[in-house]
Symmetry: C2
Subunit: 343 residues, 2 copies
């Protein structure tokens, strides 16, 4: 859909034009890039076991919808993880990606993978760009892994890729350490720094404060900001908007919000929000109807009370994920009692 | 839950203390009142046909959770609507309410009903307060019904009730008319003016602008502001927070978000957000598990693509509600095509 272009702010005179475009709601910010992380983040719910048909449907939807990047999966180390014990998209081998996307030259959608610091054999598994269909390597790092991440970013950059760095679980990083971390990261080759609310813990005021803090380091260094949210408190979309308004230009979203636990910012919402006419909603809706929604028979993602509780407590969602996978997943009072006892 | 009290804003120094309490996140604003509209707004999904057991479970949960008000339903005119053709809570007769709440004197939860302008026989059906268990009458009005609403507010006020006025579908009100409407409403006896996003159409910037505009009239008149949101774009909770931060002290929420179409701001999220220790989450979770979630077998509420589409287009959700009630409700591409053709 292109929603009917609405007035800057209906029914008020004193509203400032929003920062999403030079012309308020009637314009758009062409620099904003949308990245589809459906397969990558969603893979955390099914050990990366998607059928080719599923991955291809998501890719075709992204191409038709004008989505800027599609992330295929992880580049996990085969020394640490046995290839035969996990799904294809934990490793995202070149041949597997090529089988899905065919001759991608015809499309405007770039391809990315995520490489976890300390869990990727990047020297071997990330090919020189001219031998690969990949366009971008996104390096995910916890704060204590930053030196490893810096080396990975340099390796990917030198091989010819666009690079980003995604500082995970930022709500668990002490303030005294974050400044130093950001200073280090803006001196890397990564062109974009992502604010990542891994635990779905942030309210809008916190998102705004954090984006401003990131911007304080990123802007003078000529780096872009990105935003990756989780929906534990039904704030995935709302927090993504807040980051965009404050200048984040790289936006992660997934179809139906498919992603770990409560999932991510839904693609269908963010495309409805952005006014760039290059984005088309209908192909995403088609993919929801025929591909992603039917997956709910097997995989239980999206907002649920256990994810809300870990989000409020700023905890990794793994206890909630285990609970949601069990037969007793409707017994939310029991989960609550366990969480409280565990504090 | 009382979520672990977190730092004002994690990992940043430059964050201002949020406006939710004098002491930032470690405090709370005792003036904030939470109103449970589960039965009233949810009744729009099942023609107000809840069992006594269901309504009593919601009431008991609210009492145990420390919720300030519970709204039982509407006070619809029996001249316009035939009593036997609709559920109990379209009319909310005194005897029906008393059957549910018994001796409410023991509780801190007040009882409200909603009275629609031009559809309520208020002279007869709203008893003098001393003959009723009701505490508050909320008058709902579209802009063109304001004169009727003013008369209803006066009637209820003179009978001894707290009164609020809920200006519905405010996103469809032209700016040129809103100022006059607010000026009229603040001169009524209503103690609280509600910002009502009936169509689930507002982004946070629009909520902020509108709340400021309402505040401009309400504050000098000594009136409180309220907020009532819908979740068409997964912004029901986010927009409620924004309104609270800007000073709204009356907050509508419903258990599991049960309400018309995409539903309302979920009670479980707003209680987790507010830090007033009088609020308890566990009774609400118990009610979700044993009472409200099981209703999904019969009633289809909550975020869904058709509601998203009417929300984006600033339309009443009725076409989406009809679609969601039909057998073809998963065919979201068809709904999208119909909506586009209909523009």
């Amino acid at each position: 859909m292109k929603p009917k272009q609405k007035d800057p702010v209906p029914a008020t005179k004193d509203a400032k034009a929003p920062a999403t475009g030079a012309k308020g709601w009637l314009g758009y910010r062409p620099e904003i890039k949308v990245l589809d992380c459906t397969i990558r983040d969603g893979g955390l719910m099914n050990d990366h076991r998607f059928t080719d048909e599923f991955v291809r449907a998501v890719y075709e939807a992204d191409v038709a919808a004008g989505v800027d990047y599609m992330e295929m999966g992880y580049k996990a180390s085969k020394k640490i993880f046995r290839r035969e014990e996990h799904g294809t998209w934990k490793f995202s081998d070149e041949a597997d990606i090529r089988r899905i996307i065919g001759d991608k030259k015809r499309t405007g959608t770039k391809i990315s993978v995520m490489a976890d610091a300390e869990r990727t054999d990047y020297h071997e598994d990330i090919l020189p760009k001219k031998e690969s269909v990949l366009d971008m390597i996104r390096v995910a790092t916890y704060i204590h892994q930053i030196p490893a991440a810096i080396d990975m970013i340099k390796d990917a950059h030198d091989k010819g890729y666009e690079t980003t760095v995604n500082l995970m679980a930022v709500t668990a990083v002490p303030d005294s350490e974050l400044g130093g971390a950001l200073e280090t990261l803006v001196n890397s080759e990564a062109s974009t720094l992502y604010v990542v609310d891994s635990f779905g813990n942030m309210y809008s005021e916190q998102i705004r404060a954090l984006v401003k803090k990131f911007q304080h380091y990123a802007k003078p260094a000529g780096k872009q900001l990105g935003i990756h949210t989780h929906n534990n408190m039904q704030l995935g979309f709302a927090n993504t908007i807040e980051a965009i308004v404050l200048g984040a230009n790289y936006v992660d979203a997934s179809i139906c919000g498919l992603g770990r636990g409560a999932g991510n910012c839904p693609m269908e919402l963010i495309l409805s929000f952005l006014h760039n006419p290059k984005f088309k909603l209908r192909p995403i809706l088609h993919c929801i109807q025929h591909t992603v929604e039917p997956l709910r028979e097997k995989v239980r993602w999206g907002f649920a009370i256990p994810y809300m509780l870990t989000g409020c407590l700023n905890r990794h969602p793994k206890t909630a994920m285990d609970f949601m996978e069990g037969d007793d997943y409707e017994n939310i009072v029991r989960f609550y009692d366990d969480v409280i006892a565990d504090q």
